[in-house]
Structures are given as structure tokens and as C-alpha cells.
Symmetry: C2
Subunit: 314 residues, 2 copies
């Protein structure tokens, strides 16, 4: 395990160094030279909310201009790929193209499009999640219910009360939903428990950097609720699983030692890198600060390198 | 382990018998004679939603008239003790008095009232839950925020977005909340993670019989969400823990072999009986049917007796 230290966050670094018994120090520019393919997480690495992390635009522009292959692999499901591209451009990442972006809203739609019963619209999908997922499902002409259409559904408990579900639902998709409500949880529960719908989720991140000022409950907080009522473990399409990235790795056809993942989360980004058998760099600009890590790292997941920020690449 | 069989539910009984290698059969009337104190769960034992389970009123009336001691020990937090008493009377359980009822809304208020910082209103309580909890807190002059006052709070994510919390909050209480929303989850997360508020919950029941027609997500579904974002295990006041019942057992001063718990849930009622070191009877009028039990009983919890319904006592 190697370490890159910037002066900005010596305390954090010291904690990591102590925990991981790190002595060797590595130059960030050597890493830049050694890798050819860079997988980046977005929230907490490039930006927090709509605030760009210092130096991120310059790093990405330099990588693309130097002909490195760059992919943004995000568990963000709130936006479609096209809407995410708009965010990249608006924030100043003007070199980024659609094909550089891999997000769970897109992955979810691809998953169902690969199955005949959904492609033919025989089966429908119940969505707990934001509009980004619906846009991607619509783009592939898949049939869905729920999401923003159920935002205002209220449950009033009275003796004859019940929720009727559509028996053609074949799957429940769960992702972050800022309008989560009891109706949606019950609808999902009924689909999974009474008509054995598949249980598919974007990811399980407990917290997320939806704004730059504070952390927020992530998809994991919604998934936990549905897991609890369905007694089932979902299929996770996002990081740390490989579903999203398999087609990319196949197309790249590259020596995996030339690929690196840069992320802010041990349980998704770094674990994802381990699953891909590629190197990883943990940055401390997102959810994993040293204290959180030292208190909660039961996963035995360790990055290959640590940087306070991707700015160190410059 | 003994068994009582009614003809109404032979299939269910057979499954239990097979699983538990049961041979001996016991007469329900012997059990009635042998016990002096009867702890009853309510939902799924006496009623489902507002529908009384066949024979339940007669059984309770007979017990009370025969001078048996009867307590209703429920993880229901949606109603105050007084409101629950109204439900008992409305449904026909006219012999029931306030002191027979032990519910988590009441237990929650008693818990905080026993602590000087809450009794003196120096510290406040953030409530995720229904009005029953607020009524009990008000009755003991405790200071609270949240619950129905936050039902209409919406979160719109934008870059400067943040939720400000009251720094005098000392505890977050989580119970079933039919108006759960993302604002409440974030508020609770911030209280627990940023000002180290205590994390107190009514119970962890995954499903509940809120209406007679279908099962609904229980308190456990909301608790799971907050556990996920706070990385903390809550203190559970309701069943299967003993907090609610300790004062009763102390006052009764009775040989525990004379006490029996009748419930429909292995993970709360029967586990609760084991924790109390009293006998237990599982009934199949509520959430635990044989199939659910056989598929999901990882807890190694077994009742002492099994009845299809408390009607068998007659």
C-alpha cells in the first residue's frame, strides 16, 4: 500500500497511515503516467452537489487531452445519462461526452431491455426513484409505474384499507427517491411478497453528497426499508457490483494493471475496484474521512493508494 | 413442546408439527386452568385492523370474569393508552381498563420522563411516528418536534440545500409513521450523526396487521432506514425487550411459571416470552403462518404451544 500526502489534510492522512501501517510514499504524477484508463466516481470526487472540487476540471481536461481513457462511473440514479452530461458541461467539464458516462439509471434500463418480457412490454417495472430512471426506461420503451407519479399518494389506515397492485409487474426497482412515502414502500412490499417481483436496486450507499453543505440519506436508506419488509436481498446493479462496467471492460480489452478507480467510498468505489481486479485510489473529498473510516470499516476494504484530492494529479 | 390443534388450520399445524417434531397434544382448557397471568399481543391475536378475531371478546371477558390477570402488551405506537382503550371498548372488549394496556407510545413517554434532562425540558425529542406518541409525551409535559408537524415537509435538492436541526435535541424516537418522508429521515440522521442524539425505537416488527385485508410495512421498515444512515443500533423499548413489562412483573410478584404470553410473532412476542422466562403460545391468526415461519425462522425461537386462534380457550 502506497500513500500520497498533500498538506491540505495531514490529520486525515496520518490516521490512515497509522491504521494501514503505511511507510512508503508515492508521487501522484507517477500514478498519472502508469495508468491508461481512469474510472472516476463523481459525487465527492469531482463535485459535491453543484460545487466543483478544486482542480477537478483541470485534471479531467488534462487526462482527456493526454489521450487517457476516462469513464465516470456513478451510482447516481437521479439523472439520465443525457441530463448528467448536461451537468458535466454546465459545471465546466466540457470535454466529457455521453459515452464517458456510466450511471445506474442507464444501467437499470439496459438490464430490463436485455430481458424479453420487459422489452415486449409484457411485464412492467415498479419504480421507487427519481425521474432519471423513468427517462432511461422511456428511452428504451419499457413500461413502468410509480416514481414521481406516486409522490402525492397518501395512506390513510382504515379497516378495509388496501392497496391494489398491477399483477403484470415483474420487478421492483429501488433507488434514491426524495419523495419516498409509505404508499411506495407498501406497493413495493406487495409486489415482492405477493407476486414475487424481482427486487433490483441501484446501489446501497448509506449516505450521499447531494448538496455541498451536508450529507444526505443515500439509496441504501430506502433499500434497507424494502429489504426489511420483503425478507429478500436485492440484485445490486451499481457499484460495488460489476454489471455496469462489464461491457466497457470487454470493449477496452486492456491489461487491467493499466486501469485505476478513483473514488471516495470504501464500500462502493474501492470495493468495486477490488471486484474488477484493478487498482484503486481513495480520496478524502467525499464521504470517507479518516474518522468515519476508522470507526466503521468492518469490510476489510483497503485502497491501493490514498489522495486527499484528485488535484494532486496536477 | 406441546400442541393444540383446531380443525380450522390443519395444514398450518401440520407444517409446524413436522418442523418441530411434535407428537404430544395438549388441551387448551388445561392451559387456561394452569396459568394465572395472561399477556396478550393485540394485532393479529385479538383483531386485525378494526376486525375482531372470532371469539376474542368472549375469551377476554371470560378471563377477566374468572379473575385471571390480563395485560395487553402491544408494540402499537400509533395510539396513546387512552385512545387504545377507546378502541378496546368500541370493538366490544368492554371489561378492559387503562391499567391492562401496555403500549410503546406510553413506554416511550415513561422512558424520557425518567430522565431529568427531558423532564426539565432542557432536552427535546425528535419524533418519527404517529400522534399517539406525541399525545403521551404531551401528557408528561415533554418537549418534542417532528411527527405530524413534519408531514408536509418536502426536500428539494439544490446546491446550497441543507436542513438545520435544533441543537437541543437529545434523542430521536422512531416508530411507524404513515407519513414518513425524506425530510424526516434526514432530520433524524443529522441529529444522530452530528449531535450524537440517542436513538430510541418502539420496536422492529417488519410487517404489521394495520388493516384486516393485507399486511403493511411495520416500524421495522422505518427503523431500518435510520439504522442504515446512522450506523447505529437503536435501543428498543418494545417487545421483544423487557422495558415495558418490568414494572408489571415487579408489581405482580408472581411465580413466572403461572404467566403466559400469547402472540402471533416469533421475533417479538415469542422471543419476548423467552426473554421474560415465561411460557408462550403462538397463534396463527396474525403475521406468522407456517410458510413464513418455515422459510424465515433464522432466530431459533420456538413457542411452547401453538394454537390456531385464542378461540380454542373456550
Amino acid at each position: 500500500m502506497s500513500l500520497i500526502v498533500s498538506e491540505a489534510n495531514q490529520n486525515s492522512c496520518s490516521s490512515f497511515m497509522k491504521e494501514w501501517k503505511i511507510e512508503q510514499k508515492v508521487n501522484a504524477k507517477d500514478l498519472y503516467q502508469n495508468f491508461e484508463v481512469f474510472f472516476f466516481d463523481c459525487d465527492g470526487v469531482l463535485w459535491r452537489g453543484d460545487t466543483v472540487i478544486n482542480g477537478a476540471i483541470e485534471v479531467i481536461n488534462k487526462l482527456i487531452n493526454d489521450n487517457k481513457k476516462v469513464y465516470f462511473i456513478t451510482n447516481n440514479s437521479t439523472k439520465s445519462r443525457d441530463t448528467l452530461l448536461g451537468k458535466f458541461h454546465k459545471l465546466g467539464f466540457t470535454c466529457v461526452k455521453t459515452e464517458n458516462i456510466i450511471c445506474t439509471s442507464y444501467a437499470i434500463a439496459k438490464y430490463f431491455h436485455s430481458k424479453e418480457e420487459y422489452k415486449s412490454r409484457q411485464k412492467k417495472i415498479y419504480v421507487i426513484g427519481e425521474k432519471g430512471i423513468c427517462d432511461e426506461l422511456d428511452a428504451l420503451d419499457l413500461d413502468w409505474l410509480g416514481s414521481y407519479k406516486d409522490n402525492d399518494k397518501k395512506v390513510v389506515i382504515h379497516d378495509e384499507g388496501e392497496i391494489q397492485i398491477d399483477n403484470n409487474i415483474g420487478a421492483v426497482v429501488v433507488a434514491i427517491d426524495f419523495s419516498i412515502n409509505y404508499y411506495k414502500i407498501q406497493y413495493a412490499q406487495l409486489c415482492i411478497n405477493s407476486i414475487d417481483a424481482e427486487f433490483i436496486v441501484s446501489n446501497k450507499d448509506p449516505l450521499a453528497n447531494f448538496t455541498s453543505n451536508q450529507q444526505w440519506p443515500g439509496t441504501g436508506s430506502i433499500v434497507a426499508s424494502i429489504e426489511q419488509v420483503s425478507f429478500k436481498k436485492p440484485k445490486v446493479l451499481g457499484k460495488p457490483n460489476l454489471f455496469m462496467i462489464e461491457p466497457v471492460l470487454k470493449n477496452l480489452n486492456i491489461d487491467l494493471s493499466k486501469v485505476v478507480m478513483i473514488g471516495d467510498r470504501l464500500d462502493t468505489d474501492i470495493y468495486f475496484a477490488q471486484n474488477c481486479k484493478i487498482k484503486s485510489i481513495l480520496v478524502s473529498t467525499g464521504v470517507t474521512d479518516a474518522n468515519v473510516f476508522l470507526n466503521h470499516n468492518n469490510l476489510n476494504i483497503k485502497p491501493d493508494y490514498f489522495m486527499t484530492s484528485i488535484l494532486e494529479f496536477l
